[in-house]
Amino acid sequence: MINLQESFETKLAGGSKLLVPYVTGGYPNPGWVELVEGCVGVGCDAVEIGLPFSDPVMDGPTIQESSKLALEGGVTAPQVLAKLAKKTFEVPLIAMTYYNIVFRMGHQRFASELAAAGFAGAIIPDLPMEESVDFAADASDSGISNILLGAPTANDDRLAAICEASDGFVYAVGLVGTTGERSELASSSLDIAKRLKSLTDKPVLVGVGVSNPEQAVEIATVADGVIIGSALIRRVLDTGSPSAGVEFIASVREALDAM
């Protein structure tokens, strides 16, 4: 099984910047597994898989829409994990879901099913540091890293504690807001990346609001990498086909590699 932090550090040591696309598990259906495979094929370093939830309060309109379509199609978290378990990927998978999905399944079952499906980490945006102690321990028992988010609203003491507790890498929240594309890169993206980099040796990846190759490159001058969700999913929503999403991720990869 792949250790998330080691995997990332190996890539970084080779001079590469990290690219992690987000795919909503179950959207498009069929086609989402091909979207994951396509992203891996064009050289991303991990894939974040959304396990759709009915009430995604951290998500903007794009991810809300893909989650809703997936749920309307009858997808469930166990189905998403079962489909991925049949595949083998060269890069680690990271789950992104809301805590009720985890709580309902039970920490240990959730973590062990993630591990069985080739996952190395989990991002649970409504499980902040103070509430995540039990889950982090249960996840760790199955080799799953619980990744914490550091947001621009936190002071340095809080960010330092988050860096200490986060496992695998630290997810820098690029702006004060929900997920979604922004025409201009928020200055907070660079600020939070700088602050977190000064506080930890763990990889720091910026997500939320990273919208195109130019923004990814600008962030990667400070951060170790980027997480891109809405910009990818919007292309799939617009075209109904995974290929537009894969091409977009390929263009981000190319831009990061040209740095």
Binding site: V57, K68, V102, D126, L127, P128, A154, V176
Partner: protein, 401 residues
């Protein structure tokens, strides 16, 4: 303010838990704001000048204390003595004003000039718009698109008061979705905006803080019961959506011998459903499917059309201090008319749930004194009830249970 020692309804623990329920399950972006709010509330609530300003607003602006009415006519029908705590007589027509005056006063103290709220029936939205107008604060209220249709009068009231009403278009387009949108707005504007949550739900400190602002209901009712009835009622009944009016009145009687009964709509009976879950910031009971997807509540009452419930109710149910019952929309409509025709009081559909249960349980309650928190007046509901009685298809669509 309390007349009791709070054995059963005291402060939550440091993590904001009532027993095993509560907590702070919010995006990290909001955590500093939750911690700041907790500190600000703790400081304010210990400050005599804040307390006295709040009390002054409750008496001079909201019109408290609200009355206590012994209802002799309907008591004949029920076979028990029905006593109403008249929150319907407060300014803006429901108990919601207590919490809103507390929170907007706190927002002012914290230097926040912009208020965001969610609303179901519109009562919390109207109360928030009212207080924001009074304090000169900008006000945005999220309301489900379905609720906007069934509560047109309240939408206009909010607009008249200077608030902007934004429709929540996702999911069932009711209260749950209005909370989602309000939380997203809060995530996006947390540095400038105060989130005035309308019930005893959400992340700590909201369930505790909102209860404390509503404690006045129970404290008054306790004193009034002792003055008018010579002691505690046998049973205290309140409707429960998120559960703010219920914790308000329960808090006055939790440490007495009175039985506490919360009444949920059958289409949104979170406690009745009995499955713990986490949504909108706290761990509580939650109507959800086997995979943890939150179910859409269905109730004739927009104010109770919510799949979750405040964490303190989950705790009171778990320890057996309160019991939770449910009633159907049909039973509620019958109770709504019964109170109107026997007492000349048109209740809101929400507290009509409480009365519906009392009617249903009248054999069990025979000879007892039953205190019902009449949490709001029914003006907002008369058009909807009229449409339902006339067989209007769209109105019937809103009452499926």
């Amino acid at each position: 303010m309390s007349t009791t020692v709070n054995q059963f309804m005291g402060a939550p623990d440091k993590a904001g838990r009532f027993g095993s329920f509560g907590g702070r399950f919010v995006p990290e972006t909001l955590m500093p704001a939750c911690l700041e709010l907790e500190a600000a509330f703790t400081d304010a609530w210990q400050d005599e000048s804040f307390r006295s300003e709040f009390s002054h607003l409750l008496s001079e602006y909201a019109g408290r204390p609200s009355g206590l009415t012994v209802c002799e006519n309907i008591s004949e029908v029920l076979g028990c003595t029905l006593v109403l705590k008249r929150e319907d007589l407060n300014h803006t027509g429901s108990h919601k004003i207590n919490n809103v005056l507390g929170q907007t006063l706190l927002a002012k103290r914290m230097g926040k000039t912009r208020i965001v709220a969610e609303t179901g029936a519109g009562q919390h939205g109207v109360a928030t718009a009212t207080a924001a107008a009074y304090f000169g604060q900008e006000c945005v209220v999220y309301m489900g698109e379905v609720d906007i249709k069934r509560q047109k009068l309240n939408v206009f009231r909010m607009e008249l008061l200077g608030a902007e009403v934004r429709p929540a278009m996702s999911g069932s387009r009711t209260l749950k979705d209005a909370v989602n949108e309000a939380m997203r707005e809060w995530v996006s504007s947390v540095e400038s905006t105060y989130y005035c949550l309308g019930s005893v739900m959400g992340p700590h400190p909201y369930p505790y803080m909102v209860r404390e602002f509503h404690r006045v209901i129970g404290a008054e009712a306790y004193r009034q019961c002792h003055e008018k009835l010579g002691g505690d009622p046998d049973v205290v009944v309140a409707c429960v959506g998120g559960g703010s009016n219920a914790v308000g009145i329960f808090s006055g009687f939790a440490d007495t011998e009175a039985e506490l009964v919360g009444v949920e709509p059958i289409g949104g009976a979170a406690v009745g459903h009995g499955v713990p879950g986490v949504v909108h910031g706290s761990k509580s009971y939650l109507c959800q499917d086997e995979h943890g997807q939150v179910l859409e509540a269905e109730s004739v009452s927009a104010g109770l059309d919510y799949p979750g419930v405040g964490p303190e109710h989950a705790h009171l149910a778990e320890i057996g201090r309160a019991r939770y019952e449910s009633v159907t929309d049909t039973e509620v409509l019958a109770a709504f008319e019964l109170l109107a025709q026997t007492e000349g009081i048109i209740p809101a559909l929400e507290p009509a749930h409480g009365l519906a249960w009392i009617y249903k349980a009248r054999e069990e309650l025979a000879g007892k004194t039953v205190l019902l928190n009449l949490s709001g007046r029914g003006d907002k509901d008369v058009a909807q009830v009229q449409a339902i009685k006339a067989g209007d298809a769209e109105a019937l669509e809103t009452m499926k249970s």
